[in-house]
Each structure stands twice: as C-alpha cells, then as structure tokens.
Subunit: 467 residues, 2 copies
C-alpha cells in the first residue's frame, strides 16, 4: 500500500499505534482535533483515515465519545498456541513439504502469478551486474574466485553489519549460495551425526530438512509469535538433554515474524556459554525491519560462538543466490567446506552487488522495500480481520509473513490439496515443526503487492478453511 | 600458439601425426615433395616447418634420406609410473592442497597473471546474460527457481549430450553450482559414511577432498596416462574389497589427459553391474576434445547406474559457477539434496546461458577453444622437450593439462615453496593421490595463452626441479 496521501500516512501511523498497543483494546484514540494539530492535517484527512480503520474493523466510532480500538482489533489477537517440549528425535520430511518446496519454494499463495513492476532497486542492481560483466577482461573467466568470495563484497557486508553493532573484518565473512547454503555449512561444520540441535517451534522448515540430511536430531523450543524463542524453555531443554547447537532467528523469525529482545539475546548467549552450544543465527529477515534494524546476536558474541548466516534473498532478490556466513570459531572449517563442496562463487556477480551497495542503491532499495512491506502487511492484516470467528494473527514488525491461528477444529493440511485445486498454495502450520503440531495454523506471506487476483485468492480461503 | 602462417599449420599437423604415432619413433616422415603436393605449399614452407620440429628435437634430418621421428620424440615418452594398489583408507587432506586450492584453485603457474584478450565467445556469453537480466520483469526476483533448474537450459544440455549418444530427457538433468557441487551431490546421494569409493590414481584431488568430508574411504585404482583407469586393476580391487561407488573421468582425465576406449567403458559398466557399483562420471573435460568428442559412459548406461557430472567451467567460464548432474536411479535423492542444501540456482543466469547455446554461440566458442587449446598444448610439449634428462610427458588429446614425470630423485613437494618464492605455483604429483605417490611428477596446465611471462616462468622450472 503506497502511502502517498496524507490520510494513508495517518492511517498507517494509527495502525502501528494499535499494533504496538500504544492504545490497547477498548481504549480511546486521540481526538480528531488533536490528530489535526499534531499531524498538521485537515479534519477531512483525519476523518478519512479513521473511516478506513473503521471499515477494517479495527476502530469503533462511538457517538459523542470518539474513536476506540475495537475489542476485536488485530493486536489483541496474537496467536496463543505454544509448542510442547518433546525429547530429541530424528527428522523425517513429509512429502507435503517437498511438494510445496518443489513449487518454487516461494510459498506464495499464487506461485504462477508474477505481477507488479520491477522495482527501481532491482533495475539498478541488474545494471550494476551488467557493468561488472562488461568489465571482465583478459582471461579472468579462466580463474575461480577465492573460496571466501570477493573482498569488495565482504567489505561492504562488514560495513553493513557494523551499523548493527557487529564488528566483523571482511576476513571473518565467507560468501555462500544463499542463506540455506550458509545454514548447511554451519551445521556441517559444528555438528556430527546424531548430535542434537535446538530449533524454534514453529520455525523454519529448511533447518529441519538440513537436520534430516545430516543425520542430526532435533529438539523443538516453544517460540512465541511476539518474542521469539522461549529462553526458559531452552533452559529446561538444556538441563534435560545434551544439545550441540541452537539455530535461532532473533529478528522477525519465520513463520510468525517474532523478534527477541536484547535481554533475551544476552540470556541465550549466557546459556550457550554455560552448555558449550554453537549458536547459528539466521539473520535473513533483519533488513526488512519496519522500524530500527535490531542488533544481531553476533553483536553480543563475546565468546566467538555465534555463526551468523544470511543472504540477499529476502531483502533484494531471491534469484541472486548470494548469501554470507561469519563462522566464529568454526570459520576455518566452513571455508574449507565451501571450497570442497563448491569451489567458489561467481566473481562478477559479487562485484556487481558490491558496487550496487557502495553506490547507495541497496540502502535506497531497502527504504522503499520496508515501506512497501509494511503497507502490504497492513493490507493483509485488514483482509484477515474480515475473516469470521476466532482468528488470531501475529503482527510482525518486519519479515515477509504473518502467522495465523484458526480455531482448533481446522486442519490446514487437509485443506492444502483442496486449495491447490483452486490454484492456491497455502503453507500449513505443521510444516514449521517436526511434531505435527500447529495443524490449525498457517503462514501467509505479504511479500507480494496486493492486486485483485491476490486479494481474491485470499478471499477464497475462509470458505476453504472455516467451512 | 596461433596457427596463422602456413608453416605453422603444417608444423602442427606433423606434430599431431607424431603424437598420434602415425609415424612412430625412428620412422621416416613424408618427403618434402609429398608434403608440398598434399598440403599445396611451397618447398620453403615445408622446410621451415621441418626446421622448427628439428629445433624442438622432435625430428632428425638425415642427409639424403629425409626427416625421421626423433627417438626422443614426445610421443615416445609417455609417463610410466603406475599407482600401487593399497587397501581402502580414509582421506586426510594435506595443508599443501588447501594452500594451493586457496590460491584460486586455478592451478595456474602464474595465478596473478591475467593476460590475453577476452575471447569473442565470452563477450557473446556476457551479452546474453545481460539480455536475460534486462528481461526480468514484475516480481520475478521474488521467486526461487525450481531445484532442477531452468527448463530451457536443461533442454539445451539434453540436446548437447544427445549428440554424444546420451539420450536424456531434460527431467533427467539437474543444474548445480559447478561440477564439484555435482560430484558432492552424487557422492552424498549414493554413499553412506564409511563406504569405499574407487578413484583414479593419479586422479582429481577434488574428489578425494569430498571423500574426506563425507567420511568415506578411498581405494586408488592405477590409471595410465594414455588409457585412463586400469580396468584389470579395478577388477582385482572389486574382488578384494566391497566398493560402493567408482568415480571416473573417461574423457581427458586430469592430471594426465588420458581417455578410456569405448571397450574399456563397457567393461567398466559390466563390472559395475556385477558388483552393484554406483558409477560417477566426471565428464567436465569432454568438450575440450581436439578430435571427435568421445561418447560418455552415460551413453552406455543400460542399467541406470551412471551419474553424469559436468559443468561449464572448463569449456566456457569458471566464473559462471554452473554445472549439471544426471543422477540415474539416485536422481530423486539428488534433486532433494540440491533443494535442501541450496534451494535453487539463479534463473536469469541459466536463461542467459541457454540462449547463448541456442544461438550457436557455445558451438562457435568450442571450435575456437579446441583449436586454441591444441596450439597451447603443442607449445607446452615443445617447451618441455627442451628440458634436460629423462622427462616424460603425457600427450593429451583434450583437457587442459599435461602430466610430467621427472627422474625419481625429484621431489616436487619440496620444490613447491621454492617455486612460490619466485611467484610460480606448481602442482605437485602427490596432490593427485592419497598415498603419497608421484612425488617426482607434476601437472602443468596449458589452459592459458603462452606469453613471455608464462614462457619465462616455465623456463625457470628446470633449474628448480632438476638441479
């Protein structure tokens, strides 16, 4: 949702306040007069914004009393389901996950519906890559890049991370073929067959798949859709079982978009030190932050045990296939594994991206992306608000998806094939754990611009899910 | 060596005849008159060519009798050393290999000396990739490619392979990040920890590295620099030990450039069937063939057990990082491993390469490349011929390197650091096995155009090696 008009800007500001519980369920919003004054807008503009929030069911107008946050407001309906703690176990991927991942792994409601305009940032990125290609000379093409990757790109990444408190030298970074590849190298470097790995539940299916392929075991840590991994639950698990590594996404974790507080991050690192854990930080969503970009776990890593993994797939382009890893005490082994399994990454591609960052194109792209994503999230939450019954939705402050909890009677796995018949791909909750929980949940992406086809597809879901 | 002058063309033709033993050691070459007539050149041209071969020590002029192949001609000095058969063992990579691979893995004498002009084929390839980038539209960039890769590229590859007798559907191919990545997926798919893998000796160090990382064991099969893997030795090994897989490069195997006969390929597949082996075919050098491109093992694979692995790194550009795999009965598992460890490959890159092939750009590039490589090999052999003492050299009919066997007293590992002090990177023979053999051997690349710096670097080696 573009916020070009003043009423849209005000609407978004009010919505954020509701989501962030500045005004809680049942509380009164600032008066029209106050809003006019503080935002320097006309009365008509304020009324327009309030009407739109009313239409979305987020606000109630009470005669002569003002506007109040609706008791069914989104922010009051955070998902409640929590994972159970169960003993470590091996992972067996279901056919369903493979089926969905085989459909492009984009987890889009309409995977064949490529719409919208190519963003200016991607056009600039492609020009930069084109320039790097044209700069190839002599027999450059006969040489592999070094396993760690292009120095220029690693310098840009180090600079980018330093703004978030993570002081890394370019030598502490290695370029990968995306974040999944980085997670693979991380797990391969710090675990041996049979080791137990703690993961978020609900959490990223790609990690569970890696754990299966590497013959590791998984223990699921309950994770809140507001504050991420439950550190008390992790404490309990660490007391009961020997755990080798913990994979965690402190910033806008998929599927819920939850973020950990800095205090929780520090607590996690204390536990890691006490129990000698490798901490694998999936940082892939951090740059989509609607507000300030949170500091990574890596910025608190005084003990050299946080392996930072990320990529450009969520904040720039999934088709770049470029990620990075900072491997802490395991970095040497990770470099070796990169070399042995893949030799190198494409040099011209890295040079093109490095130039794009150095030229400021990446920062400009991120500004637009964050604004677009926040608008798309708002639209999703508004659309979900029209669903009947007890529907709970996470209110992520970054990332690309919301986590939706439906009544207990709903079985999203059973709905999957029915939705597919209508050309709609849903992402059922059980994909985000190995224990079959969350069958009444699903993740819905807001990565794509909302157009008629996408709104219509989402509009068909209540009939499918809640019939 | 450019072959722009008639005497150069004739010289190269005669050299090939000697290498291919059309005229054996001590035999008489065609008379000057015959050469004039059959090649439609002047007597002066023929004399010029013969003088050059004489200067290189390949031909002897005998008064009133004509020109004879020198008893010290290159073709008569194929390397003789053979690997010993030893029991299966785990692999431990030496620091030296890591050091050399860390230097760009190009195994170039002068890794920092990027010379020559960008070939027309690479310019055309880069234009094609640029066009594919500019064709990106809408939110294409938000989608991952399917794990198997772009259909258009797989169709082109299937067509390319069908010309060599390997009838594959595009569905039987999966795109990878290079051949090393393909070999990794192949070994991961068909082996379990502790399994024994048979490899060529001398053979490709990258495979030994993978075997180490996957906790497999290796058994080395003696390999001739003329005819490749010794099938009798393989037979003996299979009788003595349980072997799970065999990695073999039937076409221009590194380091020697040897090729297996079709009969040997068929024999190998009979053994594979009898002993239930997975056969992993490293096909990466096939397209560099100076003569007809040999049929791959895969074209004889009636039993669906040959996993074909290859890439564009040796026949187009190392910086593309694009390879492919056809996984036979393991293909489903390979697709899954690609998905889990890397999700996808870059779509626009694959589309650019597919268009380059479809437009005929790749075929034109291969024609030029083969001609260039053959000239560079001739030049290398001529330069090596000036080395004193009993120096034996393979005469590859394709590939990018020759295998040089020096007197037993030479220790190439000891020379490595001394050469490095002079800015020269040599590739010592022991890198090509796990048993410490071949210390008096080294591989020398002819991938790069010969210029003064490169000739001078090679010229310094006899002093270093043979002092």
């Amino acid at each position: 949702m573009a916020q070009n008009f003043r009423y849209q800007q005000l609407e978004a500001w009010l919505l954020r306040g509701i989501e962030e519980q500045r005004w809680r369920e049942g509380e009164r919003l600032p008066s029209i007069r106050t809003l006019c004054r503080e935002h320097a807008v006309s009365k008509a503009t304020v009324q327009h914004a309030l009407q739109r929030l009313e239409a979305r069911g987020l606000v109630e107008a009470r005669a002569k009393a003002g506007h109040f946050v609706s008791p069914r407001g989104v922010a009051a309906r955070q998902p409640l389901s929590r994972a159970r703690i169960e003993a470590p176990r091996p992972v067996t991927a279901g056919d369903l996950l493979l089926d969905i991942m085989g459909r492009g792994a984009a987890f889009d409601l309409l995977p064949d519906h490529h719409g919208g305009d190519l963003p200016a940032g991607i056009v600039a990125l492609n020009r930069s890559i084109g320039r790097a290609l044209r700069r190839q000379s002599g027999d450059d093409f006969q040489y592999y890049d070094t396993p760690a990757g292009d120095t220029g790109l690693r310098e840009q990444l180090a600079l980018h991370l330093s703004r978030r408190g993570a002081r890394l030298e370019p030598d502490q970074l290695c370029i990968t073929s995306g974040c999944q590849h980085a997670l693979f190298l991380a797990l391969m470097a710090c675990c041996e067959r049979g080791d137990v790995v703690a993961v978020e539940s609900p959490g990223f299916y790609g990690v569970m798949q890696l754990i299966e392929q590497l013959d590791l075991q998984v223990v699921e840590i309950p994770t809140s859709s507001e504050s991420g991994m439950d550190i008390d639950a992790l404490t309990e698990v660490l007391q009961r079982w020997k755990v080798r590594a913990c994979v965690v996404s402190p910033a806008f974790a998929t599927p819920s978009g939850a973020s950990m507080t800095d205090a929780a991050k520090q607590h996690l690192l204390e536990l890691a030190q006490k129990h000698d854990l490798a901490v694998i930080e999936d940082d892939i969503y951090a740059d989509t932050a609607f507000g300030p970009v949170p500091d990574p776990l890596k910025s608190f890593d005084s003990d050299n045990r946080v392996i930072l993994c990320s990529s450009f797939s969520k904040n720039l382009s999934r088709d770049l296939r470029l990620g990075w890893i900072s491997g802490a005490r395991w970095h040497g082994r990770i470099l070796h594994l990169k070399l042995v399994t893949q030799l190198a990454s494409s040099r011209y591609l890295q040079q093109g991206v490095a130039e794009f960052i150095a030229d400021g194109g990446f920062a400009a792209h991120l500004r637009r992306l964050r604004n677009d994503l926040q608008g798309r999230r708002d639209r999703l939450l508004a659309l979900l608000h029209t669903w009947p019954g007890d529907v709970r939705v996470s209110v992520p402050q970054g990332g690309l998806a919301a986590w939706v909890e439906l009544p207990d009677t709903v079985d999203t796995l059973a709905v999957y094939p029915q939705a597919l018949e209508q050309g709609i791909v849903i992402t059922p909750g059980p994909l985000f754990c190995v224990s079959g929980q969350f069958k009444n949940c699903l993740r819905i992406s807001f990565a794509h611009p909302w157009d008629d086809a996408r709104v219509a597809a989402l509009g068909r879901l209540p009939d499918l899910l809640l019939k």
